[in-house]
């Protein structure tokens, strides 16, 4: 392969390399990953498309600022081990971000090549090197500093908590993650399905974190099993706490019939299938209803995951109801395209008004109304409004509400003095990520509202820096460690 010898013009001529995928007809019958990953040849060819910009816009487009051109050059030259090392300088979970980042709105949106042609497939290449490292068993764990003697509690094991923990462990702090569910990973395990993000990868990343000395305590609900205040008290003795509890509270529409049998929140539907493995009932004990005609309300990533899960569970017809149009759909482009390929019936500009049930209280139909786009609202998106007299009924036997999630109040209500905004999200200092309570930090969806994996990770990292400074007293807030520094383990 010619390397490094091409002119920019020649590079521009190379087409974006296709991602090998499972065939749509095949894949709707299984839960295995849809995108199979680039081969080394495809990856090197794709990396060749990068122009190595002097002022790389892509880096600014990545929320954690990965040195993109530097790792792409290494891929081009076939030095995959070097490439992954560069990625991991800034991103601790590349196998995950490479798969689920909305690249078209981030790094790839601003890639120079994208001005004229398709942008360099940065996300896919990031995934490629992360997978390569895992397959070759060459994983290098970050070196941890000498133990500082400080203890930090992390509440929630989603991407924000995991990133924060990794960073703190690197800095020599003793870290314990408290997770309410029986498995760590947050949305990565209970929300995003296997066919988009194999759970094996999440497990593997978490094992690496444990190898760095991070302790994970599952089945522990902060606010119930112990409060934040108690964690920072004598008994538990944590010097700082990071809250990364996500946006776990499901919203419903408030329309009639929403409590009928067969109406699911997206969280329930996906949790039954992903976390509890309901798709493998009765081998696994948690059941999930398998409908023939299913409607999903919403058109974000969460809705796409529900639609495509329904297909894989064996539904014959799966309908997406969204009150705006495809152009406003907040889902990642790749998910939207995959869903279309798989045969989802998208009904744009359509909103449910009532869910109808039978005598036993089971869903039998949904009444919907057609919408049109009117004037732009505060967010700049054109506001949908109902078209009078356009209602009609669709026969269904199951419906999933994927219209968004809010902050779960369990921690918030039991932590007096914690300042919240009017949506119930935690208010933090933008630089340190510290909340209104000294020593208590927060980040991820619980601060921003439902966002993305990479933003949550970025927030976790930023908070780790804030915590580190706080603990070492640099911010003028912290103090000395309360304990003697523990001797490093022998050997």
């Amino acid at each position: 392969m010619t390397t490094g010898k091409l002119s920019p013009k020649e590079r521009m001529q190379i087409p974006r390399q296709p991602m090998p995928c499972q065939d749509p007809h095949e894949r709707v019958l299984n839960f295995a990953e849809v995108a199979l990953g680039l081969t080394p040849e495809l990856a090197r060819r794709e990396a060749e498309r990068c122009l190595e910009c002097k002022d790389p816009k892509c880096v600014a487009g990545c929320p954690v600022g990965i040195d993109i051109p530097r790792f792409l050059v290494e891929i081009r030259e076939g030095r995959f081990d070097e490439a992954i090392r560069i990625v991991k300088e800034t991103n601790t979970l590349p196998a995950i971000c490479g798969r689920v980042c909305p690249q078209e709105d981030q790094c790839e949106q601003v890639c120079i090549v994208g001005k004229k042609k398709d942008p360099v497939a940065i996300g896919r290449l990031e995934r490629f090197v992360a997978d390569w490292e895992r397959d070759h068993g060459t994983v290098e764990l970050p070196v941890c500093e000498e133990p500082t003697g400080f203890k930090v509690a992390i509440v929630g094991s989603g991407p924000s908590g995991l990133a924060c923990a990794a960073e703190l462990a690197r800095n020599g702090h003793s870290v314990t993650i408290f997770e309410a569910l029986h498995k760590p990973g947050g949305v990565l395990v209970y929300g995003i399905p296997e066919f988009r993000l194999p759970k094996e990868i999440v497990r593997w990343e978490i094992e690496n974190l444990e190898k760095m000395g991070v302790e994970i305590r599952c089945n522990f609900v902060v606010g119930k099993t112990a409060t934040v205040e108690e964690l920072m008290g004598e008994e538990w003795g944590f010097d700082a706490v990071f809250i990364g509890t996500g946006a776990g509270l499901p919203y419903f529409m408030g329309i009639p019939g929403e409590n009928l049998i067969g109406v699911y929140s997206a969280n329930e539907y996906l949790t039954r299938v992903n976390l509890m493995k309901g798709y493998r009932f009765p081998e696994f004990d948690t059941p999930v209803k398998v409908g023939k005609r299913i409607a999903v309300v919403g058109s974000g990533n969460v809705a796409m995951d529900c639609l495509r899960t329904a297909l894989r569970l064996g539904a014959e017809e799966v309908i997406c109801l969204y009150r705006r149009t495809r152009a406003e759909s907040p889902a990642r482009l790749e998910e939207l395209e995959h869903a279309e390929e798989e045969g989802i019936d998208f009904r744009w500009l359509t909103s449910p008004v009532e869910i109808l049930g039978d005598d036993e209280g089971r869903v039998r139909a949904v009444r919907v109304i057609k919408m049109e786009l009117g004037e732009p609202d505060e967010s700049g998106r054109r506001r949908p409004k109902p078209i009078e007299g356009s209602e009609y009924t669709i026969d269904i036997d199951e419906i999933v509400m994927a219209i968004g999630q809010g902050p779960n109040p369990l921690v918030l209500q039991t932590t007096p003095g914690l300042e919240l905004n009017r949506w119930g999200n935690i208010v933090v200092d933008e630089v340190t990520m510290m909340t209104s309570i000294p020593g208590v930090f927060a980040g991820g969806d619980i601060v921003t509202g439902a966002a993305t994996v990479i933003l949550a990770m970025g927030a976790g990292k930023k908070a780790a820096a804030g915590i580190h400074d706080y603990l070492l007293g640099k911010g003028g807030l912290g103090g000395e460690p309360r304990r003697e520094v523990a001797a490093p383990p022998a050997g």
């Binding site: 119930k224 099993t225 419903f252 509890m276 009932f281 009765p282 004990d285 059941p287 369990l410």
Partner: protein, 286 residues
Amino acid sequence: MATILKKETIAPAFKRYVVEVPEVARKHQAGQFVMILLHEHGERIPLTIADSDPEAGTITLIVQEIGKTTMEMGLLPEGTEIAVTGPLGTPTHIERWGTAVCVGGGAGIAPLLPIAKALKEAGNHVVSILGGRTKELVILRDEMEARSDEMIYTTDDGSFGRKGFVTHALADLIEERGKPDIVFGIGPAIMMKAVADLTRPHGTPTVASLNSIMIDGTGMCGCCRVTVGGETKFVCVDGPEFDAHQVDFDLLMKRLRTYVAQEEEAKRRFLEAHRCRATENAEVTA
């Protein structure tokens, strides 16, 4: 992980477990429950904390074996580690009301234990009405007697106490002595509905503890939702106790039937695989 320290049969298809889980034992208040998970392939199910010993770091669970998970739990030997999360739910609101009546049926007697205890400690006069199909299914009689000032028993077949339902006994009690200051009615949904219907005309404050299907128990999935006073509530965080007069019990009962087909299937398979052992209550060897 939590360890099952002790397991004993207290009635046909009823077992009592003592489980070591210090953090939960320390924090437990009346009215709260735990979510348990037996193993990787298991289902998360809610169970009320019937008693706790903060010093010993243990909680007591009383389980009626009605389906796959509860039966499988019955086969676990002492010493088995299971996942236990809690204490969850809003604790019972306890006051010194005066006369408090605790009406319990079936597995619903278990949640009444800590409530009766708290009521008595707060200085209430506690009258307990416990019922079951037949004498041996009226569980926890000694424990409830120790926490009550008066006891009334009913059985459907008349084998113990008076013949009939707990609601008959409650109706007579109200008839003879006037309305009590508060009623706690806990048992099968149909029983709780009957208690609510009985006390509603008297305007007696009545509390029910709802047993909806749950997954996480922390307000994340919404599968436990019920309608109370026309509003949607999550049983795991807003409850499990609610004003019984406001609860839409018909909806609750319907929602409890969501998975009957799969539950029957799971139970059938389980019984086939463990034909004798489940009934003889021997230990799983594997």
